[in-house]
């Protein structure tokens, strides 16, 4: 009986064949805990250990609210800084954890634990990157291992050539509509098919990132030449063997789902759930007035996203009634945007450029919403209260739809600006 890529990676990290349903203790290649979740990992860590298992394999980014916006958060960060100093682990403040890990650390075939729900993002590189809480992070930092129940895999095949103005975000919103917030709960979502193969790694990361919203334990895309290219672009020359990192033809899936995206149009998730997805052209008819546009987060603020925004704003000014906030996903993306002249261009268009990080995505700083305010966001979560007031409304879209809405002042189909 064949194995899925997830089963192969688990097997390689446990030293024997692991199949869906097995309880295993697996060795980890990297553990990540950030400025929120790491704070809660420290006390349990010191309950069971004095020193971390391998300080080179622990990654502590400050991204959720950095620089600290208030005294309580400064206190949490001081606590983590003390821990990191004691353990000899450098703290990174260069951007969103999942983006930094993709740029610098995640290799195909890795098994990585992240104390953050959007950890599935890294699966876009053909690794198993799994989200956990702070206790698991504490044990992982102490032992380099974690307990798992090997989950079943759902295979999702996406076929068809995307039309102009339609992006990987629109594809994943359409899939999320089908799955709902629980459709992928406990499962590995394995994406394949012509459309996924056509996406470069940054576009794939949007797909795997949003899989967290369907409840997935991990999302994964089998690595290929585009993965190699991404690694090379990021000064890494990791060689991987296709046979050991592609699912076998006779692998067992819980189910296989097929999507055709040839006729897909730009999509939008209305608040407060991920599966309230509609076509932007339908929502546009309602002329929903927008107060804030947020182009950022681990979902969608890579240089490829900013390329689209830059092109769309060439001949248009932004609506002065709107606060348009851009947070490049990482320092690298920021520097790329700087080199391409985007930062000057966006600034002259009166957009606000924040430092690389999570920005206003989780409502702690950098653009908190007030009652009844409407935000068009390229992030991944439109929950009640996520970005501030529980009465605020968050609509999730691609960077193109967000950029179009920043021009007109209401939710707008981007295709007429492309």
């Amino acid at each position: 009986m064949g194995q899925t890529i997830a089963e192969k990676i688990f097997s390689q990290h446990v030293g024997k064949k692991a199949s869906a349903g097995d309880f295993i203790i697996a060795k980890l290649d990297l553990v990540m805990a950030h400025d929120t979740t790491c704070a809660w990992a420290i006390d349990p860590f010191y309950e069971i250990a004095k020193k971390v298992w391998d300080k080179k394999k622990i990654f502590i980014p400050f991204d959720h609210a950095f620089p600290a916006p208030n005294v309580q958060i400064a206190k949490l960060q001081a606590k983590i800084r003390k821990f990191a100093n004691e353990q000899g682990i450098p703290i990174t403040t260069d951007g969103v954890c999942h983006q930094i890990m993709s740029e610098r650390f995640i290799n195909p075939g890795n098994l990585i634990l992240g104390a953050d729900s959007h950890s599935p993002t890294g699966g876009g590189l053909g690794a198993l990157t799994i989200g956990v809480g702070s206790t698991d992070a504490a044990i992982a930092m102490a032992t380099g291992t974690c307990w798992f129940r090997v989950p079943q895999t759902i295979r999702i095949n996406v076929e068809g050539k995307l039309k102009k103005g339609v992006f990987s975000k629109d594809v994943i919103l359409m899939i999320a509509k089908e799955f709902g917030p629980e459709g992928g709960n406990y499962k590995i979502l394995e994406y394949g098919g012509e459309t996924i193969r056509d996406f470069n790694v940054p576009a794939r990361l949007t797909i795997t990132n949003m899989s967290a919203e369907m409840g997935a334990k991990a999302a994964i895309i089998e690595p290929d030449e585009k993965t190699s290219l991404y690694l090379k672009d990021n000064q890494r020359s990791y060689k991987f063997d296709k046979k050991s990192l592609w699912s076998d033809r006779d692998a067992v899936y819980e189910k296989v789902m097929n999507f055709d995206v040839s006729d897909l149009t730009p999509q939008i998730a209305e608040p407060p759930d991920i599966d309230r997805v509609k076509a932007v052209q339908e929502v546009e008819k309602k002329k929903i007035k927008v107060d804030q546009v947020f182009i950022g987060s681990c979902t969608n603020c890579r240089i490829e996203d900013l390329d689209v925004v830059y092109a769309m704003w060439q001949k248009h000014n932004l609506n002065p009634q709107i606060r348009t906030i851009i947070t490049p996903a990482s320092k690298l993306v920021y520097l790329q945007a700087l080199a391409k002249g985007y930062i000057e261009f966006f600034t002259k268009k009166n957009a606000i450029i924040l430092n690389p990080g999570c920005g206003p995505c989780l409502g702690r700083h950098g653009g908190v919403l007030y009652d009844y305010e409407v935000c068009v966001s390229t992030s991944n979560r439109n929950f009640t209260g996520r970005m501030g007031s529980p009465k605020a409304l968050i609509y999730l879209t691609s960077p193109a739809t967000a950029a179009a809405s920043a021009i007109t002042g209401y939710i707008t189909d981007p295709r007429k600006y492309l």
Partner: protein, 164 residues
């Protein structure tokens, strides 16, 4: 009493990001459902149950959602289903997250859990509801969580988790 919740209660509702900025469990208890159900933190009593629909605890990985409910004295969360990180966090903290059909449980019903028989017993309605409480959850509930388990055994004893 039983605090009744609908489907898809996410961790942003349990411990909202803007308030979730402490490492003091007692402070967290005060912010549980602070905007979604402000009376919860004021009125919740030790031994109360949370009774919910599908996908309880979805969203963020923040373990504070579990810590807060535990600090409130919640005896068990009974739901039709749980989101996976929240469920893991419950297992690790030794908080009972019980999967059962919660459809007909009302806020005033007196509930009892029979771990051995895997039942939620609705004493008020004289009904027994089949429940799923996996061996690992029972083990860590009885030990008081995975950190105490590792302290009691030793750091390399994770494999013992699966011994019944």
């Amino acid at each position: 009493m039983n605090w009744i919740f609908e489907n898809n209660i996410n961790t942003d509702l349990i411990t909202p990001g803007r308030f979730n900025i402490t490492t003091d469990a007692n402070e967290l208890a005060k912010i549980a459902f602070i905007e979604h159900l402000p009376e919860f933190a004021k009125k919740v009593q030790k031994g109360d149950f949370i009774v919910a629909g599908n996908n309880f605890g979805c969203g963020s990985s923040r373990e504070t959602a579990v810590t807060a409910l535990r600090a409130c004295g919640i005896k068990a969360i009974v739901a039709k289903s749980f989101a996976r990180i929240f469920y893991r966090n419950c297992i690790n903290q030794g908080l009972l997250a019980i999967i059962a059909d919660t459809e007909n449980i009302k806020s005033n019903d007196k509930l009892k859990i029979d771990i051995k028989k895997q039942l939620v017993i609705n004493i008020s309605k004289k009904k027994e509801i089949k429940a799923v409480i996996p061996p690992l959850m029972i083990k860590l509930y009885e030990t008081g969580g995975i950190i105490l388990f590792l302290k009691k055994n030793r750091l390399g004893s994770l494999k013992k988790l699966f011994e019944i």
